[in-house]
Amino acid sequence: MRPQRLWGLLIAILLLLPGVSRSQPFTCGISLAPLMPGPDADPVDVADLQTLLQNNRYYFGPIDGIYDEALAAAVRAFKQAQHLEPTAVIDEDTWSALAKEEPSTSDATTKPKPTGRMRVEVDTVRLRLTLFVNDEPYKSYPVAVGKMTGYNWSPVGDWRIVSKGVNWGGGFGTRWLGLNVPWGTYGIHGTNKPYSIGTRASHGCIRMHNRDVEELYSWVPVGTPVRIIGQAPAVKLRSQLRMGDSGQDVVKVQQHMQALGLQIDADGRYGPKTRDQVRYLQELYGLPADGAIYNDMYYLLGLK
């Protein structure tokens, strides 16, 4: 077979695999590749590894994110004790062995599969994910959310579940629920670091205990609305926003329009609905009605 055809076939196979290659969550900062000693090892993952080995009393060095020989020795000793191949490579099985699944603090352990209109709300302040059924809280789970630094903030806004994936392993745990955030790939997923649940530890994704995300996964279909609330990073407002634009500043504008009582999703996409609602506001307030966000609209919305 000619190499071009082989590549084409491979790409086609990857595209056909639901929710794997197309929605691989790079924004979460979780690598699917095994962690190996050396200078290329992700310092964040290495620091997590050091912490886990320390908790298991195999490592007593500093938590510095450096995968050196001392750490490799600790890994080998740990893996031998766990009846795993005693190498320094941290694969999915090693992460699973390192992670002692901690008990979930979800509000109820057994509930029947709900029926009705479902939506999910993630509170990044209270670090809880709540499933609403017909606008009534149905079940609440503890989560880990994004660190409030740099590009690690969880995306505050109104999203939808657009993809579902099973057993990606590693940092994604057992289930993945992809969100339609326009500026990156974010999702709700399980974890191999259950101790991080209840903290601001992720790179923006919403982490849950594996058993919790498995339950949620089995209940919510693709298309379920997910509202992430809480603090959002300061964003620079563009001088003008119009149809076709997307980003966190669009979310900000949409949220302020929601505060005025307008029926609009804060989904970060400046689509026809946003344009029409902006035009409606402009007509109401006697501003030039072109459906675009310009300087005076920022004032009107309280963003300036």
Partner: protein, 481 residues
């Protein structure tokens, strides 16, 4: 025998005469609408149930905890509780919904019994719309403010039961206004300035603090229209569609605006300026902002903090020193005034809201009409003060003024000024086709041509000539072949 016959004949004639008088009641004339003679004094039959259809438009009061639709529904419920044999079918339309449904209903001879007209009272159809003056008692007529009554009257007929009047206002930035550092200091109510005073203030403000002048949205046809009303005291068209603005008066206003552009008080790039006027106002680079409407006024007052202060609307009659100081503190950046007084005339373009009452092609009877008027009367009075408070307008009833002052979050001075200014209100022509023609000419002719004047590509004289000539051709086109 002959005498007896004569007596019987006379008695019969007298009886017929009395019967005729009783039936015709010439001292209580009927109201003729589209060939139907309606008895305005017909009573409701207590043993009969009436269904009155009401259409209204929702005011999107984005700041209110309770929606306008809910308030209207509450008023409807209260009305049905007071008149148990009247059932009201309420249809609340969205603010951005066109009034095409009303025209369609009229064309089909089946308009609603009561029609809310919050964007301005109109005489929509002389065949179906009922003049209401004979339905109102002397006390009710006396309770209507003179301005409101005048605003809904045409040819000595009252075409709607008014709810409120909303005059146009400009806003000045009190911190930057140079005439007086505190315009309140020597005035009991917000002052009104002449054209000359405006120009002096604009010049002085530029010298003192580098203000760029006026933050304007010239793209809003209401801006030019309200200036012309101020200059002439009249609407553009009279009730027959003839222009009432003289070439001279149009020239005068266009020349004033052109002069302001030349002096740098108004930017030449009107498109860009219309999109940055709030920024210019709040950054202090503009000392005034125009035009405004209820929504923009709410934004300005809220941002300035005027609506947050519980002391902002002190109870009558006297202000304590503390509350006066507080008022001045919160009032610093925003105060409303009228557009410049041109020709020293106090005339204010305004919108009047009210409820019109209609009959249907298949007339439902005098008592049904009475039921419809009863509902219109009830709703108008019930909503008048509340809506006026929300919109910074003035209620149509003298008896509602106290409730309005109490419910308002604005200083009393502002409210008294508003009352005074409303007396000089000039509303658009009531005839629907004339009002629409006015709007069309303002939007399609006056506005684009005015922009040319400001950009220097058309002289004020040419602009004035064109605008005076516009209705002749437009009216012919509007009415069709």
């Amino acid at each position: 025998m002959v005498q007896r016959r004569r007596l019987i004949s006379v008695l019969l004639l007298v009886a017929l005469g009395i019967g005729g008088l009783w039936y015709l009641q010439p001292w209580r004339p009927r109201v003729e609408v589209g060939g139907i003679k309606i008895n305005p004094h017909a009573a409701l039959d207590p043993n009969k149930n009436y269904t009155v259809v009401v259409w209204d438009w929702e005011l999107p009061l984005l700041w209110s905890e309770i929606t306008h639709a809910q308030v209207v529904q509450d008023a409807v419920r209260a009305c049905m509780a007071q008149y148990p044999n009247i059932r009201i079918e309420l249809v609340v339309k969205g603010w951005d919904e066109s009034d095409q449904a009303v025209h369609d209903a009229l064309a089909g001879g089946n308009p609603p019994d009561v029609l809310g007209m919050p964007r301005g009272v109109r005489l929509l159809s002389p065949d179906y719309q009922i003049p209401l003056e004979r339905f109102l008692t002397q006390d009710e007529l006396a309770d209507l403010t003179t301005a409101a009554q005048r605003a809904v009257t045409h040819n000595q007929h009252i075409w709607a039961i008014p709810r409120w009047l909303n005059p146009t206002r400009w806003v000045i930035h009190t911190e930057r206004w140079p005439t007086s550092p505190d315009p309140w200091a020597h005035e009991s109510i917000p002052p009104v300035y002449t054209r000359q005073e405006w120009e002096e203030s604009l010049t002085e403000a530029r010298t003192k603090n580098g203000s760029s002048g006026l933050a304007l949205n010239i793209l809003d046809p209401w801006f030019f229209y309200s200036l012309m009303v101020s200059a002439t005291g009249r609407t553009y068209l009279d009730h027959a569609g003839n222009p009432q603005w003289s070439e001279e008066s149009i020239y005068q206003v266009a020349h004033m605006l052109q002069t302001w552009v030349k002096k740098g008080f108004i930017p030449k790039d009107v498109e860009a300026a219309a999109r940055t006027r709030l920024g210019d106002y709040w950054s202090g680079s503009a000392i005034a902002l125009a035009p405004t409407n209820s929504w923009l006024l709410h934004h300005l007052f809220q941002r300035s903090g005027m609506l947050d202060s519980p002391e902002a609307a002190p109870s009558s009659p006297a202000l304590t020193q503390t509350t006066t100081a507080k008022l001045e503190e919160v009032q610093r950046s925003v105060m409303w005034t009228l557009p410049p007084l041109i020709n020293n005339r106090m005339a204010v373009a305004a919108v009047v809201s009210g409820y019109g009452v209609f009959r249907q092609a298949e007339y439902k009877g005098h008592d049904h009409t009475q039921a419809a008027v009863t509902v219109a009367r009830f709703l108008s009075r019930k909503l008048s003060a509340w809506e006026a408070t929300q919109l910074f307008a003035v209620p149509a009833y003298y008896s509602e003024i106290d409730a309005w002052i109490t419910g308002s979050r604005l200083p009393e001075q502002d409210l008294y000024a508003l009352l005074t200014w409303t007396e000089a209100a000039v509303v658009a022509p009531l005839e629907d086709h004339i009002a629409r023609l006015e709007e069309q000419i303002m939007l399609e002719t006056a506005l684009p041509r005015l922009i040319h004047v400001l950009q220097g590509t058309l002289t004020p004289e040419e602009f004035a000539r064109e605008l005076v000539a516009s209705p002749v051709s437009a009216l012919a086109e509007f009415r069709g072949p």
